[in-house]
Amino acid sequence: MSDRSNVSRAVLEDRAKFIRTETVRLTKIAGAGHYSSTFSCAEILSALYYSQMRIEPAKPDWDNRDRFVMSKGHAAIGLYPVLADLGYFDPEELETYTRLGSKYGDHPDMKKVRGLDFSSGSLGHGLSVGVGMALAGRATGRDFRTYVMLGDGEISEGQIWEAVISAGHFKLGNLVILLDRNGLCIDGHTEEIMSIEPVHERFASFGWDVQRVDGHDFDAIQGAFANLPREATGRPQAIVFDTIKGRGVKRMEMSLDWHVGNLVGEDYDDVMAELEAGLQPYEPEPAE
């Protein structure tokens, strides 16, 4: 794909909105879906796929394409529409989402989804996949980058830290963690369930370069991307994106009730209208 670094802010905002509305629409087909985990990473996904990654959708097997691993596989519902929109497959196929025999399930299967670089669903595995991709790229002299999106609850998994240690050891400068730091896991706030802060210092102590930015601000996201080094060997790169779980739908923002949900009737229409209006300033609920 040609240079996309000049994609306008308006386009990226529109594609983030598209990710959210498609997530709501596809969830209706399934009868249940991961809204809030997808909403928190909508801007990151939009910036990554529409302005950052070196990809050619007409050649999904191009061996020097950048790789993306959606380690928090439950957000695949936000990735499928992006892949379809970029031309990896016919968007009409998404009408089958989660129905018997569909290629598109709640967690993504690389054997079925064109453009998907790896399957996911079992949390904690994706960064190791990325380590392998980065090692393979370097061993074969290819200069692609590997991006791995992790959930913040996910990094309680021990395998993540095996991978973090090894990427530092192998000096995988071509590996990038995109941490969706949305604050919530299923049972509560991460800091109450299993605390991870100061997460940026933790990555840094394993030999990673770490940036920490607002994951809903395109200038900040693209600025962090612009800081990534081009060398394959060096300190691996982590970007901690501070985000809001459920961002974009007032009732879901930082709510524990919408990790999995299903909007029906007027609720569906209200939420779609809210999303169409675009992001409003985030106003946390006052503490009780």
């Binding site: 670089d117 790896f118 595995h125 996949v129 392998g132 991709m133 393979a136 074969t140 090894s166």
Partner: protein
Amino acid sequence: MSTEMQNEAEIFRGTTEGETRFRNAKSVRGTPKAGMPAFVLGEELAEMAHSDPRIIVATADLASANRTNDFKAVHPDRFFDFGIAEKNMITAAAGMASCGMVPYVATFASFSAILGAEQIRTDCAYPRQKVRIVGTHSGMSMGFYGTSHHALEDLGMLRCMADLTVICATDANHLRAILRKSVDHPGAMYIRLGRGRDPEVYAEVPELEIGRAIRLREGKDLTIIATGSQVRAALDTAETLAADGIETRVVDMHTISPLDRAEIEAAATETAAILTVEEHNVTGGLGTAVAEVLVDLPRVPFKRHGVPDRYVEVGPPAALYAHYKLDAPGVTAVAREFLETTR
């Protein structure tokens, strides 16, 4: 002290012929007829990698134990030691495979197949990645290291995973054949090795077809279907029984999944009885797999022989094999007892 107890004491002191040979194992490393699968692992892969740039080898802090350091010495740029982090290693291998590499990841079977079972299923088998998980020191070959280091459940755990080839190396030359065939075999594979001290069965690298058993001896009175370390014991048993006029067919059922049904059906229809022998829990492994085929066939006398469904005693490997009747005298005794019940 009874003779039997004396014999056992000698085994425990490591004075049997077998134990002596084992202790001197390093002195014969690298010789073509050493009959030591694990020890040819690194050198064979290194040889293959000269002409195949896809081959990558990784281990988890056991490069000397499984001789993958023989590969490292030749191809240091395609060798990765992941430290004591097997899950990361197996999944990273899947990532490498998705980029066109053919990674061989080797560590003790207890820490590859058992510790890494979910990574094998979810990251290698399910996405059909060409990862070769090499489980060395399988069964109870780690002897007195104990249950944490034994893998007597790996065949049972892995053979019920779809899109995963499960294959056992019988000896060094057999392992060479498996490795050579494995490079272009589709999907993920689990290759089960002993400790590298297994006696020789194949004097030369055999013709091998993955999923097709090798019939090593003909007979009509009994078929012994064995895998891995027990193929030699099965052949020796057949030799002993032949002296009594009992003709035994011996089958090396190296591939546990997919299983060679035709060979089992042939044994059921052409021979009078079937005995399976494996260095594995008698539940879930080769014997169970064969039983699943036999239930669909006309009844034939059948017995499974392996390790009983409990954690094994501590002891030197040779002593354990004798204790659990998984050496030639033991298998012979089990076979005779079984044949008595069929008369």
